[in-house]
Amino acid sequence: MKSPLAGRTYRGKRLLFAALAVFALLAFAACSPVGPQDYIGSQEGSQASRSDQLWDLTFGIAAVIFVIVEGLLVFTLFKFRQRPGREAAQFHGNTKLEIILTIIPSLIMAGIAVPTVQAIFDNSAKAEGALEIKVVAHQFWWEYQYPDQDLVTANELHLPVDQPVHLTIEAATEDVIHSFWIPRLAGTQDAVPGRINTLNFVPEETGTFWGQCKEFCGLSHANMRLRVHVEEQGDFDQWVAEQQAPAAAASAEVAQGEELFMQSACAGCHAIEGTNAAGTIGPNLTHFASRETFAGAMFRRTDENLNQWVANAPDMKPGVTMPSGIEELGLSQEDVDAIVAYLQTLK
């Protein structure tokens, strides 16, 4: 059998190796597991899956055009390379070909435009009986208000599966532009100070989905993350009930932590229902311990992480408004331990 390399010029061999290398890399990529924010490999929300269908159509066409055009280019370079005895053909153009090659792309674009515009309008429609949630973006964390359920939480959103949601997306007037994004569920909408945007979709599968702020918003833009827990209706209702309940009662060492919290600057920025803490600058901590993460979903809610955070938040997350507990608020390490113990009881 003749080697696939035989008869090829040096350039031809190099091109073949390059093509094989690219193919190998892509095959490797295609076979790797789907990452938590990958929206091509998997979609679990109505908006994400519908836009993925548009992608499949468009990318398919683009891939075909790519193969034809680049293939033709490589072919042309081989076939018309300078060789002894060859003369260049001196033609100036071909009007008929030009017209055809203008009309065909126009028709392709028109074909893609129709389903695109349909999806644009469908996405902007609020569904009947949608769950209303107000998302307020801050530097560098997310606040969620459920007006109909009368609860406020931060960074981790809970949604019931298969029920349409209607998110209003805002940013505080004195804040900057952020962008709320949960790739596996829906596209993004910007949170613009002075403006209210909306996001409509139906979560279609249970699970925990990751997202993050997508509009550059300052030093900790990279650290402004979020999680969405999509649950069966029963689990969601239970979560709502727990969030509506007042903060869990304190006990033993925790009482000292609660006292420190209320008397230090903490209560000036954070709110905990049923106590004197009613600050609105930082996240609502009433059910802080019911969340997997904190600090804009940047850290897991372990004692160690929480301890480091209360002791010195600016060190862990650049640009954060929260002061350092030990250096700026004058807390001792025992004070920090007590506060952490208290926070971990706020289920």
Partner: protein, 624 residues
């Protein structure tokens, strides 16, 4: 050559007359010298922007990178973008336009040689002003398109340097735009009608109109930003009735034509290089001209495709989706016509051709990904991710930069009289081509895997580790390729093959005069009869076979200079007023930054003095 000098003493210093030495370069108004100054300066900034890129890629090669903290990272990615756009691609295009527009239309210089000089010095001082921020408290750190209200709220002077630096650079671009429009419309050689102009000239003309209308828009936005930051205004502050989205509209109304400003000159270069190395005329000249003009017009109608997730509403989003899809059509026309130029040709694989073909191949990819962005609901996923970063690097690096390198290799022998080494040139091309695809190809994948832009780090569990590492390796390969180019340029100065007037057997007027050209360009202004007039003086077409047969008397006129009396040609004289006026601008900038009225007013006085001196000085002294 200057003879015995009798020059007027009008100002404090006498009119500079020297033709050699550093002072002659500082006071030059010769478009060719200014072109070289633009090119060298732009290349220097290319190195700086490239180092910023390498720092970024090193930080992102692994998760939780510790090389750059968030603050430094934000300055680096902002300055990388500003540098590559305003201090590299645009000025390198200006370098080639400056050098070759007069030559290709048969003129001796541009219409306004001192404005030309002024534009260069404003560019240099503007770039230095912007970079001085690194040493004076911190560089701009709000991203190259710096959205409000963040651009107002960012502490320090960084974003004030942004507002003033870009304002200064904009003045340079406006000067150049006016110059090229007037030159091209008024100073073409007799017989060169518009439809006989080289494509590079057409693209320069369209680019210049885009510059003329786009820069005033960003000037307004930058003034508003400066007032918000330095003087407590509230243009973009919603708490006081301002509107953050206004910034985006103004910026992108400039910003989208800006990307066509960056790509059209490179498209013009490709349209010169392909016919030369395929030995046949450009395919569909009229279609390429009209599609360039169409892109110029349609480019004004797509700006809000940068704002699809801002919440403009379904009607606006649909309108801009459609306009964005349809701007792909004239671009497609060009791609087909370039392929039609190669088809049937006799293709010589010299370095300029490799870069030109690389442009076409990479631009197809960038163009196709661009069309996928117009699918608004999916753009809601793609926007602000690395998928977008992939798109614009394919069109701006794979496109504009490759096109500019094609122009550099093509025109180097004409500018310097020596050809760059072919072996090193090919090595440079392949290193850059492979490195480029290794760096930016994976960005498509990372973007689709949900990696946002402008993040200084990412955690380990995201699944982004592998492709980030691949990309970083590619970036260093690009850097090595660039070193090969620098070696080539340095080596060629002394050891490069001496080039005659027409080393490539090309088609346009610049190849009819010696390499490098004399100051006055043409001894006799040519009379043009056809498009690609030079080619048809060299070759006649055999009637039956259509073979091109060489006419030996029709080549470039290399010996004429020694017989011709150049005293009879009056060229504009050098001048220091453009430098003086240009220097005033950053001085005023520093006055604003440091809230120092004395410096601000002093700079203003210097500007007025500079403009007066300039206005009172004739373009050429009578007594020579």
């Amino acid at each position: 050559m200057a003879t015995a000098v009798v020059h007027q003493q009008r100002g404090m210093l006498s009119r500079p007359m020297a033709k050699t030495g550093v002072w002659s370069w500082i006071t030059t108004v010769d478009h060719k010298r200014l072109g070289i100054l633009y090119g060298v300066t732009a290349f220097f900034f290319f190195i700086l922007g490239g180092l910023e890129a390498l720092a970024i890629r090193s930080q992102l090669a692994t998760p939780d990178g510790q090389l750059l903290n968030a603050d430094v990272y934000n300055q680096f990615f902002t300055m990388h973008g500003l540098t590559m756009i305003f201090l590299v691609v645009m000025p390198m295009g200006a370098a080639l336009m400056n050098y070759f527009v007069p030559l290709m239309i048969g003129a001796r210089d541009v219409a306004f040689p001192r404005i030309n000089a002024f534009s260069y010095w404003v560019f240099l001082f503007g770039g230095l002003f912007l970079y001085s921020s690194f040493f004076l408290g911190g560089a701009p750190d709000g991203g190259w398109f710096g959205y409000a209200p963040l651009n107002v709220q960012l502490p320090g002077n960084g974003m004030t340097y942004y507002s003033l630096g870009l304002q200064i650079l904009g003045i340079a671009s406006l000067g150049g735009a006016v110059n090229f429009i007037v030159t091209i419309l008024n100073m073409r050689a007799p017989g060169m009608t518009l439809m006989k102009m080289p494509i590079f000239i057409w693209m320069t003309l369209v680019t210049s109109f885009l510059l003329l209308f786009a820069f005033p828009i960003i000037a307004v936005a930058l003034f508003q930003l400066m007032f918000d930051r330095a003087f407590g205004a509230n243009f973009f502050n919603p708490a006081k009735g301002g509107e953050p989205i206004l910034w985006q509209h103004l910026f992108w109304l400039f910003g989208h034509p800006e990307v066509y400003i960056m790509i059209l000159p490179a498209m013009g270069i490709v349209s010169e290089v392909l016919p030369t190395f395929a030995r046949k005329p450009i395919f569909g000249y009229a279609a390429i001209v009209f599609s360039g003009i169409a892109i110029g017009f349609m480019g004004w109608g797509v700006w809000a495709h940068h704002m699809f997730s801002v919440g403009l509403g379904p009607v606006a989003n649909s309108a801009f989706a459609l306009s964005t899809m349809f701007i792909a059509v004239p671009t497609g026309v060009k791609i087909f016509n370039w392929m039609g130029t190669l088809w049937g040709g006799s293709i010589r694989f010299k370095t300029p051709l490799l870069f030109a073909v690389g442009f076409v191949a990479m631009f197809v990819i960038g163009g196709l990904s661009g069309v996928t962005h117009s699918i608004v609901p999916h753009d809601a996923q793609q926007t602000d991710t690395y998928y977008i970063v992939a798109h614009f690097h394919y069109v701006l690096f794979g496109g504009a930069i490759f096109g500019l390198f094609a122009g550099l290799y093509y025109w180097w022998p004409k500018i310097f009289g020596r050809s760059l080494s072919e072996g090193l040139g090919k090595l440079h091309f392949w290193m850059m081509f492979i490195g480029f695809n290794l760096t930016f190809g994976p960005f498509h994948i990372l973007g689709l895997q949900g990696m946002p832009r402008r993040i200084y780090t990412y955690p380990d569990e995201m699944g982004w580790n592998f492709w980030n590492m691949v990309s970083t390796v590619g970036a260093f390969l690009i850097a090595l390729g660039t070193l090969v180019f620098i070696m080539n340029a340095v080596r060629t100065r002394k050891k490069g093959e001496i080039a005659g007037a027409d080393p490539w057997d090309a088609r346009t007027l610049e190849w009819t005069i010696p390499s490098p050209p004399p100051e006055h360009n043409f001894d006799v202004i040519p009379v043009v009869e056809k498009r690609d007039d030079f080619w048809y003086r060299k070759y006649i077409t055999e009637p039956e076979t259509e073979r091109q047969v060489r006419v030996f008397a029709g080549g470039a006129d290399e010996d004429a200079a020694s017989e011709f009396d150049i005293q009879s040609i009056h060229m504009p004289d050098p001048s220091y007023w453009p430098v003086v006026a240009a220097l005033a601008l950053p001085i005023m900038g520093y006055g604003v930054i440091y809230s120092n009225w004395a410096v601000l007013i002093g700079g203003g006085v210097l500007l007025i003095l500079g403009l007066f001196g300039w206005g009172l000085e004739p373009s050429a002294e009578e007594a020579h």
